[in-house]
């Protein structure tokens, strides 16, 4: 398979029908639909349970009071903003480190390049909890407690191995001839990186950026350890914060579930509008070349 054919194919992962010929009989199609619908209902059931519960006792008021009288004085909207700010820092750090390293590991010739790449991949799966103690210490030394950057940094550190893998794989698919032509014209590597590599890598950058935002929205570990100020609480963190404040009484339980529904909204919107970027990004690290 040539590199260009693959690049053209990738954006269509979610819409291509490579297997359409597999279904030979109309009855089989019905069976497939039946199984998909049953599994779809099972997968959607927790969401249904959540939404149903969110209207219990107070009805729609459960939602309205979340805005008029926020739980623990932490408005839902501010958790969105906090997650967004962290996401911006996370994405900026990951993109700048991953593109430069990805360029070096795919387009520059030097001894030990593959060894360096293997060393990068070694840390692809470091559990955040395993480096929690040192990161706590580092954050203390840098005076970055209760600071968006303090959370964005360790998030980025854990995402960067993946980002480098993604950018390096993408870089390998960019034909060398483009850069060689620029080099003959006397362009430096910094110019080539900025004027040729980065513009060509835009699709990969889009995937990586969307993933950084999704992961910042998902992250509970770092904000819960590095933020003590409830005003900075992120969406994932507020799940616990609200539960601490509101307790588990049946009267409040509906309201708590309403808050959970609203806390999910940014992630759901990202998935609805960015699913293609997410799937392309997550799978480009794994697919064969």
């Amino acid at each position: 398979m040539t590199a260009t054919a693959k690049q053209q194919k990738r954006p269509n992962i979610l819409t291509a029908n490579p297997m359409s010929m597999v279904v030979t009989r109309g009855a089989d199609r019905l069976v497939i639909y039946g199984l998909l619908i049953v599994m779809g209902l099972i997968f959607a059931f927790p969401l249904y349970a959540l939404i149903r519960r969110s209207f219990e006792v107070g009805g729609i008021n459960n939602y309205i009071t979340l805005f008029t009288d926020p739980i623990g004085n932490v408005p839902i909207l501010s958790t969105y903003v906090n997650s967004l700010f962290i996401g911006v820092g996370h994405a900026a750090l990951v993109v700048s480190v991953s593109t430069t390293a990805g360029y070096a590991l795919s387009k520059l010739q030097f001894r030990g390049r593959e060894l360096t790449f293997s060393g990068v991949l070694l840390f692809l799966a470091v559990p955040g909890t395993a480096i929690l103690i040192p990161v706590y210490h580092i954050t203390q030394q840098l005076h970055l407690f209760n600071n968006y950057l303090g959370v964005a940094l360790p998030e980025a550190a854990l995402t960067i191995p993946f980002g480098v893998l993604l950018m390096r794989n993408y870089g390998r698919n960019i034909p060398d001839s483009l850069m060689e032509a620029a080099q003959l014209d006397g362009a430096s590597h910094f110019r080539i990186f900025w004027n040729i590599f980065l513009p060509l890598a835009r699709p990969a950058l889009a995937n990586l950026t969307v993933l950084c935002f999704i992961w910042s929205l998902q992250d509970f570990l770092w904000p819960s350890m590095l933020f003590t100020n409830p005003d900075l609480a992120t969406a994932a963190q507020a799940v616990k914060l609200y539960s601490n404040v509101i307790g588990q009484s049946p009267e409040q339980y509906g309201r708590y579930n309403a808050s959970l529904v609203l806390l999910a909204v940014p992630a759901v919107l990202f998935v609805i509008f960015g699913l293609r970027f997410i799937v392309n990004g997550l799978t480009s690290g794994s697919t064969k070349e």
Binding site: N17, L47, Q109, A125, T129, V268, V271
Partner: protein, 304 residues
């Protein structure tokens, strides 16, 4: 592809961009030096002490923390649970996950909606999903027990989260529920599957499900390996799945290493040295699986 690339490389064998490469790699090296290399040294140093989270006034205790860890049943239980939960999610991913991906790739109506339903749980905050799961299995008001009572199966209703067996089943179900990533891996690799052998099977008159099982399934072996390793690693990265559903209990019966470490770090006691020792062991396990993954993908590349 290999021959394409090696030709120009040979031509400029004498050229080396090492200096430029160091500049381009320096941001990466800085991040790695601080967050991974320094972290490992810091863990090593801390693991030999008795100290609180303030990290002040550390008392040197030698290998004592590691000795305590070896004798700690909860820690070995957590590692075992990570493997068991990973096995459950792997079993579900390579069967149901695979089928979902193939079925959706055959071109069904409302496909985008199906993708959303199957992938969404894995992409919204896990803390939220796990909380909802915990709520569903709550003893008095949980929808599971309510449903069981309403259909006359009240005898089956139980306090799911307070009994080791049922609590374990709840967390295992949650891990099985979060198989969005494997579905994505299968979807991506199905889109790149060569179709000639499928056409041959069709000419032989093989039925839909036979083709799925006997032709496509074995063709996806590299993807199966990716799925197994990524779920194994994901399990050791897991925290919220347990922390927000059962809290690791009852006892330590549903503890995973993530919730184990997190619990000790937030315990407020002088347990940070001990936890650093546990973290080092977890790190070694993750690195070993990472190396296995690198070898697995390398042979994949070679075989292509």
């Amino acid at each position: 592809m290999k021959t394409e690339r090696s030709a120009p490389r040979k031509k400029r064998k004498s050229r080396s961009d090492l200096r430029v490469a160091v500049v381009f790699l320096s941001p990466l090296l800085l991040v790695y030096a601080v967050y991974f290399i320094y972290s490992i040294f810091f863990l090593g140093e801390t693991s030999m002490t008795k100290v609180g989270i303030s990290l002040r006034n550390a008392v040197d205790v030698g290998w004592l923390n590691f000795q305590m860890l070896v004798g700690d049943a909860a820690f070995s239980r957590a590692i075992l649970n990570n493997l068991l939960f990973a096995m459950v999610s792997i079993a579900v991913a390579v069967t149901i996950g695979f089928f979902i991906a193939v079925a959706l790739a055959t071109g069904v109506r409302a496909r985008k909606l199906f993708y959303l339903v199957f992938l969404l749980p894995a992409l919204i905050p896990v803390s939220l999903v796990a909380t909802v799961f915990g709520g569903m299995f709550q003893e008095r008001f949980g929808i599971v027990n309510e449903t069981l009572r309403s259909i006359g199966l009240g005898a089956l209703a139980q306090s799911w989260l307070n009994e080791p067996g049922p609590a374990f089943a709840v967390v295992a179900t949650l891990f099985a529920y979060l198989i969005g990533l494997p579905i994505m891996y299968y979807t991506a690799d199905l889109a790149a599957l060569p179709t000639d052998s499928l056409e041959a099977a069709l000419l032989d008159g093989a039925g839909t499900f036979r083709i799925m099982r006997s032709i496509i399934y074995p063709m996806m072996t590299p993807t199966h390996i990716t799925v197994v390793l990524s779920l194994l690693l994901g399990s050791f990265r897991g925290l919220e799945q347990v922390y927000f559903s059962t809290g690791g209990g009852p006892g330590h019966s549903t503890e995973v290493v993530g919730s184990y470490l997190y619990g000790y770090i937030n315990s407020g006691g002088k347990t940070i040295g001990f936890t650093a020792a546990a973290a080092l062991i977890v790190l070694v396990i993750a690195l070993i699986i990472s190396i296995a993954q690198m070898f697995a993908t390398r042979t994949r590349k070679g075989s292509r």
